[in-house]
């Protein structure tokens, strides 16, 4: 005698197994989908970071150029400062010499009172 399918415990077990397998397949596909989102997102993030790096590198190159230009300008300004300092030093030395010369000349000159006295004494 054949058991009706609806009451057959084997059929019920198979249906239960089938349902469990179906859930398992959906779970697996769900995991795969979430994983795929993660991969696409990570790819995008890497792409975005690479673009950022590229932009930063471009900015870095431009900044380095600017630094080099500023360094050259600084160098030029330092040379000019040194030249000006040397000129200042020379001018100061000359100034000092002139002052000393003037002082000597002033010192060498006979004061007015003595010249008057000398004239009055008939020696001038």
């Amino acid at each position: 005698m054949v058991e009706p399918a609806g009451n057959d415990p084997r059929v019920a077990r198979l249906e239960s197994d089938n349902e469990a397998l179906r859930r398992e397949v959906v779970d697996a596909r769900h995991s795969l989908l979430v994983n795929r989102d993660h991969v696409v997102g990570t790819e995008a993030e890497i792409g975005r970071l690479n673009r950022d790096i590229l932009r930063m590198q471009t900015e870095l190159v431009a900044s380095r150029k600017r630094i080099r230009a500023l360094q050259n300008r600084k160098k030029g300004l330092m040379t000019r400062t040194r030249d000006l300092e040397a000129k200042l030093k020379a001018a100061r030395t000359r100034n000092q010499q002139l002052r000393e010369e003037l002082d000597r000349q002033v010192a060498a000159r006979v004061p007015l009172s003595r010249r008057v006295v000398r004239r009055l004494r008939g020696r001038g």
């Binding site: 979430v34 795929r36 989102d37 997102g41 995008a44 975005r48």
Partner: protein
């Protein structure tokens, strides 16, 4: 400036009876080009006034690059344009009407674009209009290459530059399409072009005088029919199932798509089965969503996958069973709220090749909404489509996303249903950077390829991220103007956005800067109606004076 390797441009101009002073302005605009490698073929289509030929002949005598071709009989614009194309010897054709103006840098900019994109076969620029008093107005900042939009309107228009060999390969302008012969040519050339390039600068001033198409879009009624036929021809050539109809205003076209009857479409609707008051009546939102969705489509193979949270009332599920019958698939969701996960699970239980994401708080308005929404996905490079959504007062809630200036926007929000938008934006289908997930559709293969909705974003920005992923994998996103629904968003959603949600999207895709398809200059006049009212109340006298002076 153009170097030695720059291409020779052949400017082609059919001429018929323009005002002579206007023609002289056009000639002056060409002769003042910064780029010097050009020739200009003017075909006089038997203008009755001999002065027209004399003006061209004088210009030709002054500059050997200018050539006059005189027709004995008037053959109309297609014949005259084809004569000009036949005479051209340049690598690229530049289409200039006999009364319009090129900007001085027009050819130089095109040469620069070609040098940056050697495979460019078709280039177009932004344009504006020039009035009778010489005033410039109506600047049209165009989107990047948008093949779907070109079906809805001749948006590339001026200035168009096409590779000569390709124009000849497709047979030039076609007889019988007068008035829309340029649209027809653009459609046929773009089908074979390796690259179509948008130059985002105004290089062309389109003269708007009384009776011209620039001043009045309906000035040439025969052109509308020719344009409709041109678009229909393209659908037929490409094997796209659909019928083209004239739009609400001349020069705009609406495509009614057809679906393969054997194609299964799965509607995926997440819900918790809540009720709300809409249009003065208490509704179970998801029930009315499903009822209107099934009622307003002729497609039969529709599966309804409802992902319901455990607390969903059983009577709601009973009502759904009653409406959808054996087309209903119920998926119970037992976890804390996560929109992305609910939709993903729904899609994994769905058996259709087309997946439609539908919020449970919408009501379909337009007939054949499903055909029009899903139809564009038959094109393999279309990955995502979206719909036009309204608040319950009929103002626009969603007409596509725009991502610019560090934010994610809803351009054209609060415009009304009867408005066409600044350049027909609201009545033609078009490519967009993104669309809302409240009503959108994907092919199953594309959905799996991009990894579905990001489950790390349970509430906000999951659709933004999805749209970015679609574009990242090279698919187009098409917004469908003739798929209309109400979206009773405020009835069901807390709009609060958390900083980390935005950061998630920015970390993946960067900070939004310039939108390729909705330039901010077009879309920013969107305003909250209350703010608009405030602005109007603040300037009542100015408004009255302007009205009274007319």
């Amino acid at each position: 400036m153009a170097g030695q390797a720059s291409p020779l441009f052949s400017i082609v101009t059919p001429v018929y009876q323009p005002p002579v002073d206007v023609l002289a302005d056009t000639i002056a605009s060409v002769r003042s080009q910064e780029h010097t490698d050009w020739e200009w073929v003017l075909v006089d289509d038997a203008s009755p006034d001999p002065e027209v030929r004399r003006v061209i002949a004088d210009a030709s005598a002054d500059d050997p690059r200018i050539r006059l071709v005189a027709r004995d009989t008037n053959g109309h614009i297609v014949a005259a344009s084809n004569d000009a194309v036949a005479e051209a010897s340049g690598e690229f054709l530049v289409f200039l009407d006999h009364d319009d103006l090129l900007t001085p840098d027009a050819l130089a900019e095109m040469a620069r674009a070609i040098s940056g994109e050697p495979e460019a076969d078709y280039l177009y620029s932004d344009e504006d209009k020039v009035g009778e008093d010489g005033e410039l107005f109506g600047r049209f900042p165009k989107p990047d290459w948008s093949p779907e939009r070109l079906r809805g309107q001749m948006y590339t228009s001026h200035l168009s530059v096409m590779r000569t060999a390709l124009v000849r390969e497709v047979g030039g302008f076609r007889q019988g399409y007068d008035g829309s012969q340029d649209h027809d040519l653009a459609l046929r050339v773009s089908e074979r072009a390796r690259r179509v390039v948008h130059v985002p600068r105004v290089l062309y001033h389109w003269r708007a005088v009384a009776g011209s198409a620039a001043a009045d879009i309906g000035a040439k009624p025969y052109a509308d029919d020719a344009g409709r036929r041109a678009v229909q021809d393209q659908l037929d050539r490409l094997g796209i199932a659909g019928t083209v109809e004239s739009g609400r205003e001349p020069g705009r076209y609406v495509i009614q798509r057809r679906l393969d009857p054997s194609l299964r479409v799965s509607l995926v609707i997440p819900t918790i089965g809540q009720s709300a008051t809409v249009f003065g009546e208490r509704r179970v939102m998801v029930v009315d969503t499903v009822r209107s969705a099934l009622a307003r489509t002729e497609h039969e193979d529709v599966e309804v996958v409802v992902v319901h949270d455990t607390p969903t009332p059983p009577e709601v599920l009973d009502q759904l069973r009653e409406i959808a019958g054996d087309r209903l698939v119920l998926v119970e969701y037992t976890l804390p709220f996560n929109f992305s996960q609910k939709v993903n699970l729904g899609c994994l239980h769905a058996t259709g090749d087309r997946l439609v994401f539908l919020n449970d708080d919408v009501e379909v308005i337009s007939p054949r909404w499903l055909e029009n929404l899903v139809g564009p996905l038959d094109e393999p490079d279309v990955g995502l489509t979206g719909a036009k959504l309204y608040f319950s007062d009929g103002s626009i809630q969603h007409a596509g996303h725009g991502y610019w200036n560090k934010h994610y926007h809803h351009p054209f929000r609060y415009w009304t249903r009867d408005e066409a938008g600044p350049f027909g934006e609201l009545v033609v289908n078009r490519e967009m950077t993104g669309v809302t997930a409240a009503c959108s559709a994907m092919r199953r293969d594309a959905f799996l390829e991009i990894g579905g909705f990001p489950e790390a974003l349970p509430s906000n920005f999951n659709d933004v991220d999805l749209c970015y992923k679609v574009a990242h994998l090279g698919y187009r996103t098409v917004w469908v103007a003739n798929c209309e629904l109400y979206h009773f968003e405020s009835q069901t959603r807390d709009g609060a956005v958390l900083p980390w949600e935005r950061h998630f999207v920015v970390r993946r895709w960067g900070i939004p800067d310039v939108d390729r398809f909705t330039p901010a200059a077009v879309a920013t006049p969107m305003m909250d109606p209350h703010r608009l009212l405030d602005a109007r109340l603040a300037e009542p006298r100015a408004t009255t004076r302007r009205t009274g002076s007319r």
